[in-house]
């Protein structure tokens, strides 16, 4: 036993000032054989320079097609505690706000059923409960339901949507990102729990153009807050900032549209030319406030490289009002699901499908009118269609 537990390589990662995940695994290993064998197997990976998990595995809980990631060791004889070591993705509370009561309840459930190891949080935003055996999945799920938690998405499903902190603690929220998140999650429970799509579908919601959840980079459908109307300026506060900041150099000169001027006393903004990038507002939150008419831009197609290369989201709705019950957004998502499901090939993300069939086809299917806000620049090739009936 003592010999097996020697982990000279991982021990190196307990040195240094940043909190060490190895310490966490060791803590859990005091109580759980599975965590002990995870530590052993990870040490082996550090020696072998390769992972030791088998390919995939399909496990789940009753009535759900996703939310559990099957995981099996490829050296179970050596590390029987991780022979099966499945992950549960648990839908996080909006904005990742917790009471300690809820967190402790989660810990109780996980100490009872799993390795005692977690991620706060996974890359998509879920609470990750790392490692349990097949026989514990259903009881663990039942206990999670008991304390008010549900599973998140996995596989070819709508993945757990996520949102920035929004109006809970940010003055820049152009809409209620947490309420939109809640509404989208509740409305699309079936799409979340029952993988039925060509591939994964991610929805991320950022309440302003700073995009704190990286919606534009990693969601098939990004909702990014923006506004119309003039930026409100409090000149007195601008002057306060001027005491510690070079307004000309740091704010005015860095404005991408050059729509600002500063004479040492008064800041002027030519609002018609502002493209709402947030730079000036970020620098002077006390002095500048976004315009009053607030909503969001909707972008589609963002994704990481697999299969045909990474894409950033494309603007297809430059401005949408987002107020409860968010009917327009829900209809938009529904229609997009339908079009993608109808036309997408296996493992084809929305962006790749639009790329294959052409943006025009998607826009027409969605009933979206062409707008100059949708493009960076017009096409430079003469290869375009004239559809029947178009003059």
């Amino acid at each position: 036993m003592a010999d097996e537990m020697k982990t000279p390589l991982l021990d190196e990662l307990e040195k240094g000032p940043w909190p060490s995940f190895v310490t966490d695994i060791k803590q859990a290993a005091k109580k759980k054989a599975s965590a002990r064998d995870l530590l052993g197997q990870l040490e082996q990976s550090y020696r072998d320079k390769i992972g030791h998990w088998k390919h995939g595995g399909i496990v789940g809980v009753k009535g759900y097609g996703g939310g559990v990631i099957g995981r099996y060791s490829d050296i179970p004889d050596k590390f029987p505690g991780v022979e099966h070591f499945h992950t549960l993705r648990v839908n996080m509370p909006a904005g990742w706000f917790y009471t300690t009561k809820a967190l402790r309840q989660l810990c109780d459930v996980w100490d009872k059923h799993g390795s005692g190891l977690t991620n706060f949080h996974g890359a998509t935003g879920d609470i990750i409960l790392l490692g349990t055996s097949t026989d514990h999945l259903q009881p663990c799920f039942d206990d999670l339901a008991e304390i008010g938690f549900d599973l998140g998405g996995s596989g070819s499903a709508m993945r757990t949507p996520s949102a920035c902190v929004g109006p809970a603690r940010c003055e820049w929220a152009c809409f209620d990102s947490l309420d939109v998140l809640q509404t989208v999650t509740r409305t699309f429970q079936s799409q979340l729990h029952r993988p039925m799509f060509p591939y994964k579908f991610k929805i991320k919601i950022s309440a302003c153009p700073n995009d704190c959840v990286a919606a534009i980079a990693r969601s098939d459908l990004a909702v990014i807050g923006t506004w119309k109307g003039d930026i409100e300026i409090d000149q007195k506060e601008v002057q306060q900032y001027a005491k510690t900041m070079n307004i000309q150099a740091e704010v005015v000169d860095l404005c991408p549209t050059k729509c600002m001027s500063w004479d040492g006393k008064t800041l002027k903004i030519d609002n018609r030319e502002c493209n709402r990038c947030m730079h000036c507002i970020n620098l002077m939150p006390k002095a500048l406030r976004q315009g009053k008419e607030r909503g969001a831009a909707i972008l589609v197609g963002g994704k990481a490289p697999i299969v045909h290369g990474a894409l950033l989201g494309w603007v297809v709705v430059p401005f949408m009002k987002l107020e409860p019950p968010y009917t327009e957004l829900i209809e938009f998502i529904n229609k997009t699901f339908e079009w993608w499901d109808e036309n997408g090939k296996m493992r084809e993300r929305l962006g790749e499908l639009i790329n294959r069939l052409g943006m025009g086809k998607y826009l027409r299917a969605m009933g979206l009118k062409p707008l100059p806000q949708m493009i960076k620049r017009p096409r430079a090739n003469p290869y375009y269609f004239w559809r029947e009936g178009v003059q």
């Binding site: 190196e12 990662l13 240094g16 000032p17 940043w18 909190p19 966490d24 803590q27 859990a28 995870l38 990976s45 550090y46 390769i50 992972g51 030791h52 998990w53 995981r71 992950t87 904005g95 990742w96 706000f97 917790y98 300690t100 809820a102 967190l103 402790r104 810990c107 100490d111 190891l117 706060f120 949080h121 998509t124 790392l130 490692g131 902190v165 109006p167 809970a168 603690r169 940010c170 995009d211 704190c212 959840v213 990286a214 980079a217 990693r218 740091e250 860095l254 709402r276 947030m278 730079h279 970020n282 006390k286 990481a304 697999i306 299969v307 290369g309 990474a310 950033l312 296996m346 493992r347």
Partner: protein, 339 residues
Amino acid sequence: MLPPIITKNYGKWKYHERVKPGVLKHVAESGDELYTVRVGSERLLSTDKVREICEVADKYCDGYVRFTSRHNIEFLVSDKSKVEPLIADVKKRGWPVGGTGHSITNIVHTQGWVHCHTPATDASGIVKAVMDELYDYFGRMDLPAYCRISLACCLNMCGAVHCSDIAILGIHRMVPKINHEIVRTKCEIPNVIAACPTGAIRPDPANKSVIVNQDRCMYCGNCYTMCPGMPVADPKGDGVSIWVGGKVSNTRSGPAFSRLVIPYLPNNPPRWPETVAAVKNIVEVWAKNARKHERMGEWIERIGWERFFEIANIPFTEQVIDDFTMAPETYRTTAAFKW
């Protein structure tokens, strides 16, 4: 699960200040003040550690706590007098306070060898080694701008690192070793063929399996995701690549992809010294040369990539020149450039 002060001032925040590294102050229209103390975490937490976080939140925050999209812990306090004792308490526990403003905040990352079945490298180990080295930057705010570092342990990028100031990406470098028996019995061959972005896979009717055209394979591993008979991981082939200059926010220059600058560094556990040194070098070169508010990519676009490779002292390699589907837009289409 919102703290009462947030419920009360929901949607009515007026402005915020960065009081000092790791401390934000939000002021509501009502005049209420909310202090946030941001603490770095290892993301992979034991339930013991979570309970310890709860202990702190109970002691100072009336039992409320939140996490950020970059794996940081945020303790929210409405009583200013609790801020310093809270900071002293978490520091005593060895938890870093920082990650606000122009700092290097926590590294978003994936599972790696801890729990993934397709990794080309570990995730938590590299992150720990890099953050140890950049530790001081977490607790400071004197960098030119934000610097977001992310890590994904394979091209699937569940961490979606492709728009980060610095991205650390695990890569494979060897073609899949086909196990015909598994391909024959467990895989849907048309799907495996369709999974290849470069068309490198074709049927092998004699074996009821597939053949990989070695010259076309870019080791993305998508075939392995579709079929366990196509393993692509290899201790010698696998390693780390470094990408720079991406961002997601719309500020100034807008969102941008990270670009490849170092195509391969070896997997060298437990502390990946080559990767740590490469990341540190890039951070320091940027910190020294960029103007205020210039993100990594904005700085590089201003000085030119040819200059970046020179002053960062990074060898320019053939892999850096794109030859995938969107390649032409990365080629230089002007006769204006620097030496």
